[in-house]
Symmetry: C2
Subunit: 310 residues, 2 copies
């Protein structure tokens, strides 16, 4: 039987629309039509928040938005409508971000850049390098990504501290800190890793005081959002050698302007918002799973709370 | 009661003798005297094989040698005596070598050197990087170190193949290969990691045929012994782009001579026999545990078979 009225109309808004279309068609989802333009009947969007925000106003029937990313702050602007279900992509990024974080932690301990300089100088440098084993890692934020970083740190026999608003959900965190205890959390850390979303509560949480509480050999890694960092304070802490260095994948302004001092700060490594490359297969799976729930009127996974912002 | 005759006489032969002496004294081992020179009563040596081999001839009472390293080929020379128990250091190196291997695997996938070049060129390079997740790693040799590398690869959701003489002891290896199946083992690998000891059976096992069986994007890592590699064949495979690169910590001749082409081969990274920095605390623990067994006449752990050479 053809149920014309029960059909859901999906709009794909992504730079990888053709890949997502193929993956979704392959799944042969029931009662679903993929629209090729923003028709008034569209009730579902699956895509990138930067493209979605501009389409919201023209879709009167919109009921559900599935984001391809974990961060959804582009949709938080109070001027935009918030009368639909918003779900984001979680879990898939944890593994990828963990690979990024531990790649850079190990590159630091193993002095991968210095060993390459030794090789270029034809210098047999037999001096000992560092190890992760036994070191202490502090997580600013322990959501699904932070929990995966914590799990990896425990695999490498590290001690893990977590700083959260109040949640204490990951068993891979050895000790939790909250509220005023942020400086206590920071003291003695070998590594500080920020995996915070962009909310009013996390803005510039990595400030001069927090950086001053870290040991001089500590390294800061940011894979969350650039807004969590007081960038001027970070540059000062590195230049005055109050911390050993930083690895930044996210920034207050992206792309980072040409004149920004980050590009040329020694012991500061930049990557370009690529710590968790989105793998369309993984992201499509989330949409497909959620679509089947949506079609049966069941609660969706990974719902975003517009109040909290994540 | 003072049991003069039951006393064991230990000789320490290491570049870190004072650290080992302190750690052993702290353990207050029964019936043990640490000698400060090679007296005829010495029945135990604990130290580095390169120093031990020269002392063997002058110690008539020698019963047991505990090596601080995993590799013991310096003591295998048929001209040397083999009438004592030889134990080596195992297990402690697995974690450290795993950190090394995964540091370089992740540096490769995440293009850490290229991202640094982008930063120096002030270029916001948003292109996707690679991940370990889902890749296939092949281990040449699956002893205690190989098993730990396998365990780490499984943690990162990789597929693991193992090539061994006959043993199939690690449950972290998905598929084992032996004997003639070495080219079958190599086909389709993303990473080939050699952790072989130096024995007659492993000499130049990484030859032109094995390298030709690897995919062009494969990377070779050697943390075992340099003798396992046909160095000329490796340089040719890299220069002709039949493999993507190599990371070498061990070499046929160490230190590598200044005129050796390795120093300047592109896509070949050298480190300097430092993949597993010996941590005296960990090595002393092995000696202490074995000493207590020795003193009670029980079988020692990590015994080396002079026939097999490991």
């Amino acid at each position: 039987m053809f149920c014309g009225n029960a059909m859901h109309k999906l709009l794909l808004l992504s730079s990888q629309t053709s890949i997502y279309r193929a993956l979704i068609e392959e799944a042969r989802l029931p009662d679903l039509v993929i629209e090729s333009a923003a028709t008034p009947h569209v009730n579902i969007i699956f895509g990138e928040t930067g493209l979605i925000k501009d389409a919201l106003a023209s879709l009167p029937a919109l009921a559900w938005v599935q984001s391809t990313s974990a961060g959804v702050e582009a949709l938080m602007n109070p001027a935009l409508r918030h009368d639909y279900l918003l779900t984001n992509a979680r879990n898939v990024f944890g593994k990828l971000m963990s690979e990024y974080v531990f790649g850079y932690l190990l590159a630091h301990e193993r002095r991968i850049f210095q060993r390459f300089a030794d090789q270029q100088a034809k210098q047999w440098n037999h001096s000992n390098v560092g190890v992760l084993y036994g070191k202490t890692l502090g997580l600013l934020g322990v959501g699904s990504i932070g929990a995966e970083v914590a799990r990896t740190a425990k695999f490498f026999d590290m001690t893990v501290r977590g700083y959260t608003k109040e949640s204490e959900t990951s068993s891979y965190v050895d000790k939790y800190f909250h509220g005023e205890d942020i400086l206590k959390f920071a003291r003695g850390l070998d590594y500080l890793v920020a995996v915070l979303p962009n909310t009013s509560g996390t803005r510039k949480i990595v400030d001069a005081a927090l950086l001053a509480a870290l040991p001089a050999h500590a390294v800061f890694i940011n894979v969350g959002r650039g807004s969590a960092v007081d960038e001027a304070a970070l540059i000062e802490a590195i230049n005055q050698r109050r911390i050993a260095g930083a690895v930044l994948d996210v920034f207050e302004q992206e792309p980072v302007p040409q004149e920004h001092p980050f590009w040329t700060t020694p012991n500061l490594l930049m990557t370009f918002h690529t710590s968790a490359p989105s793998l369309p297969e993984d992201i499509a799976k989330i949409f497909i799973e959620n679509y089947l729930l949506f079609n049966e009127g069941k609660p969706l996974k990974h719902q975003v709370d517009f109040e909290r912002g994540y």
